[in-house]
């Protein structure tokens, strides 16, 4: 081999080594530029401050597959978070390809998962942010919002959700949801179909802190509660307990009240639950009666005590109002409901769920199933929402109360219904969100909404197909043929004299 060839080979080898070293260096120290007009991948000042001031490492567990379109966006954004601080540790777990890792995470964080018809894993938390033993769950709904009202545009909240989670795990107090006890209420420790154990799990996943509270004990048992849940009392509250609850409400508290009709001991009539004062402050009265449905299309159970109810427009019932034929609107199935009514006063409650017009309410179970003298005719409200004026200008909203006329809204069975019949569970979840009404993270600017999907008519779709699949390749082919013919016709000819 000549010296010249040797030097060439050495030169090429050196170039390869230099290229590898350059790539290693580039991998260790790199820069990313955000080319989007909306600066989607550029973190806001508030986020950068939050990330840079983390007191200890925060681990972000992403439970989305790499091929998941949502996961890809999160991955890009988290790279920007990682670049801001070494205290951000991101762990990606692919539920489809890493079943062991996913199972470990599922058990560690108590995540519920299932498989779709096409085999994909779906779960109730997409991201978990942890710091020490504190954790914060982020669902896909927290990350983006598709609004049909906004012409089907999509609004991304990825940065808000992640930064809010990072702030929350730094010791931010979770909203305490206090379940009253001592009156035969559904227990949050009861995981059976008739218990509220499942609701407790959902609340924990939604970053609330559920706990039990006894209104009859202690000086101020509701002091740390954000929301009080009265989940189906079977014996009446004492006047003192009712007054305590009413007093707490006037100071700015919010209550989710759910109560089915309960027969008075030794009688055929229904008894009171003793919370008239608390409810009356919100313009609501819970009748000591039970709704019976007569419309065959709305009867779910024998003798009409299970009813198919309708949602009325309200923030809580968003997604439950509309024509079922056009979109999937879950039905609201309720068992043993008591009628709720509005009482005159300074606050007017809004209807959330109503029964059909042919329903009637019985006060005595003996002369059944026909309406008797004194029974009321429908339609009846079986869910109402009410809000009092704010107690101070600094709070996000005034005291709120949602009254549900059946404990069926809260029981595990409501969440076990197929999606098409899960309306009652959705009412409960939305009601809790409305009652706590967490304000959005305001110091992180909202991203511009972008169109969700494409709006194409069938004619436009065909037009696109014709252009891209037929006309464009055909044009290239014709051009090629023209060149070939031209070439053939000029072949062998001497060039024209100049």
């Amino acid at each position: 081999m000549s010296a010249w060839k040797t030097s060439s080979l050495v030169g090429v080898a050196a170039a390869i080594v230099a290229a590898i070293l350059l790539n290693v260096l580039a991998e260790r120290r790199f820069t990313r530029w955000d080319a989007t007009l909306a600066k989607r991948w550029t973190l806001s000042v508030a986020t950068r401050d939050t990330v840079r001031s983390l007191p200890e490492p925060a681990t972000i567990w992403v439970l989305l597959a790499p091929g998941d379109p949502l996961g890809q966006g999160i991955r890009q954004l988290l790279t920007a978070y990682e670049a801001e601080s070494q205290r951000i540790v991101v762990r990606y777990i692919d539920p489809d390809r890493d079943p062991l890792g996913f199972e470990d995470a599922r058990r560690r964080f108590g995540i519920e998962a299932g498989r779709t018809a096409d085999g994909r894993v779906v779960m109730d938390a997409a991201i978990v942010v942890t710091m020490g033993d504190r954790r914060w769950f982020i669902t896909t709904q927290d990350l983006l919002e598709v609004s049909e009202e906004d012409k089907g545009r999509i609004r991304r909240h990825e940065e808000q959700a992640l930064t809010h989670a990072l702030r929350s795990v730094q010791g931010g107090e979770k909203v305490q949801v206090c379940f009253t006890e001592g009156h035969g209420e559904l227990s949050i420790e009861d995981g059976s179909d008739l218990g509220a154990g499942h609701l407790r799990d959902i609340l924990e996943k939604d970053n609330y802190a559920p706990r039990r509270v006894d209104l009859g004990h202690g000086a101020d048992p509701l002091a740390s509660c954000g929301v009080v849940v009265v989940a189906g009392p079977r014996s009446p509250f004492s006047p003192t307990e009712d007054e305590r609850l009413a007093a707490w409400l006037t100071k700015g508290g919010s209550v989710l009240y759910a109560a089915s009709p309960v027969r008075a001991p030794g009688k055929s009539t229904f008894g009171s639950d003793g919370l008239a004062a608390s409810l009356a402050a919100f313009g609501i009265f819970a009748d000591d009666a039970m709704v019976v449905e007569r419309d065959p299309e709305r009867i779910l159970e024998s003798e009409g005590v299970g009813v198919l109810a309708e949602a009325r427009p309200h923030g809580i019932t968003a997604g439950l109002v509309g024509e079922r034929e056009k979109t999937l609107v879950p039905r609201i199935r309720v068992k043993a409901a008591r009628p709720l009514s509005r009482v005159p006063g300074d606050v007017v409650a809004a209807d959330l769920v109503v029964t059909g017009a042919r329903a009637f309410a019985i006060r005595d179970v003996r002369p059944r199933p026909e309406a008797a003298t004194g029974d009321r005719d429908g339609p009846f409200s079986i869910a109402l929402a009410s809000e009092r004026p704010r107690v101070s200008p600094s709070v996000a909203h005034g005291p709120r109360l949602v009254a549900l006329g059946s404990t069926g809204f809260l029981s595990h069975a409501a969440w076990q219904e197929p999606l098409a019949d899960r309306g009652a569970a959705l009412v409960t979840e939305n009601a809790l969100s409305w009652l706590t009404s967490r304000p959005r993270v305001v110091d992180i600017p909202e991203r511009a909404a972008v169109p969700a999907g494409m709006r194409l008519t069938e004619a436009s779709r065909r037009e696109v197909r014709d252009y891209v699949v037929f006309y464009m390749p055909a044009a290239a082919l014709l051009l090629g043929l023209a060149v070939a013919f031209r070439r053939r016709s000029t072949e062998g000819r001497s060039p024209a004299p100049r």
Partner: protein, 251 residues
Amino acid sequence: MSGFVPILKRELLVFFVTPLAWVLVTVFLLVQGMHFFLIVDHFSSQPATVAVQSPLQAFFGNTVLLYLVLFLLVPPLTMRLFAEERRSGTIEALLTTPVSPAAVVLAKYTAALVAYAFMWAPTALYVVILRRTGDVDLRVVGATYAGILGIGAAYLSIGLFASAVTRSQFIAFLLTAAVMLALFVVGIGEFVAREGSTMHAIATHVSVWAHMNELASGVVDSRRLVFYGTLTAVPLFATTRLVDAWRWSGT
């Protein structure tokens, strides 16, 4: 660099008067057209489920079809550049002209790059179609096409080198395809290797899929610029040294 422009013109002329070029353009547009239409069809029928990404991102970033297109374009575009000249002996005449090896290599390479860009150019019409049906971020479009050009530039450089190391067009084709396949296989490691491992980092570093996903999302990363820059420069440098060697020691 004297002689660069005449060689470039000759290469472009040779390329565009051969039936191969137009067959390639036709097949390329057919494949891309069907791919684009499938995405449009998918997005228009399921707006809510696919809304988290744009059609443009799905077209350029979320598919292995890009590899198919690169396999379709790059080896046929480069296999002839030096192998055919060496087989027919015309390279001898070229090397006796007062043109530097760098000019010869760069002229042939630029011709292949122009032909590659020419094939992609009609796909700009897809962007026009998307703009009619929704919002399209033109800066992201720019980043995406820059990425397509960068990836093509690197692979064409490999193809040019493969064409220089053999007299057979077919072997040059196979060599280019083999290197591309190797990069593809390593890139797949992104999905196979454990997240956080060295293998995963290497796989992500060379994965066209990951790079196009970033670019189609509007993220320009210096690591990708370095990777494709070096992947373009090293084969070009090696080819130049090889051509220089022919001048002094014969082909």
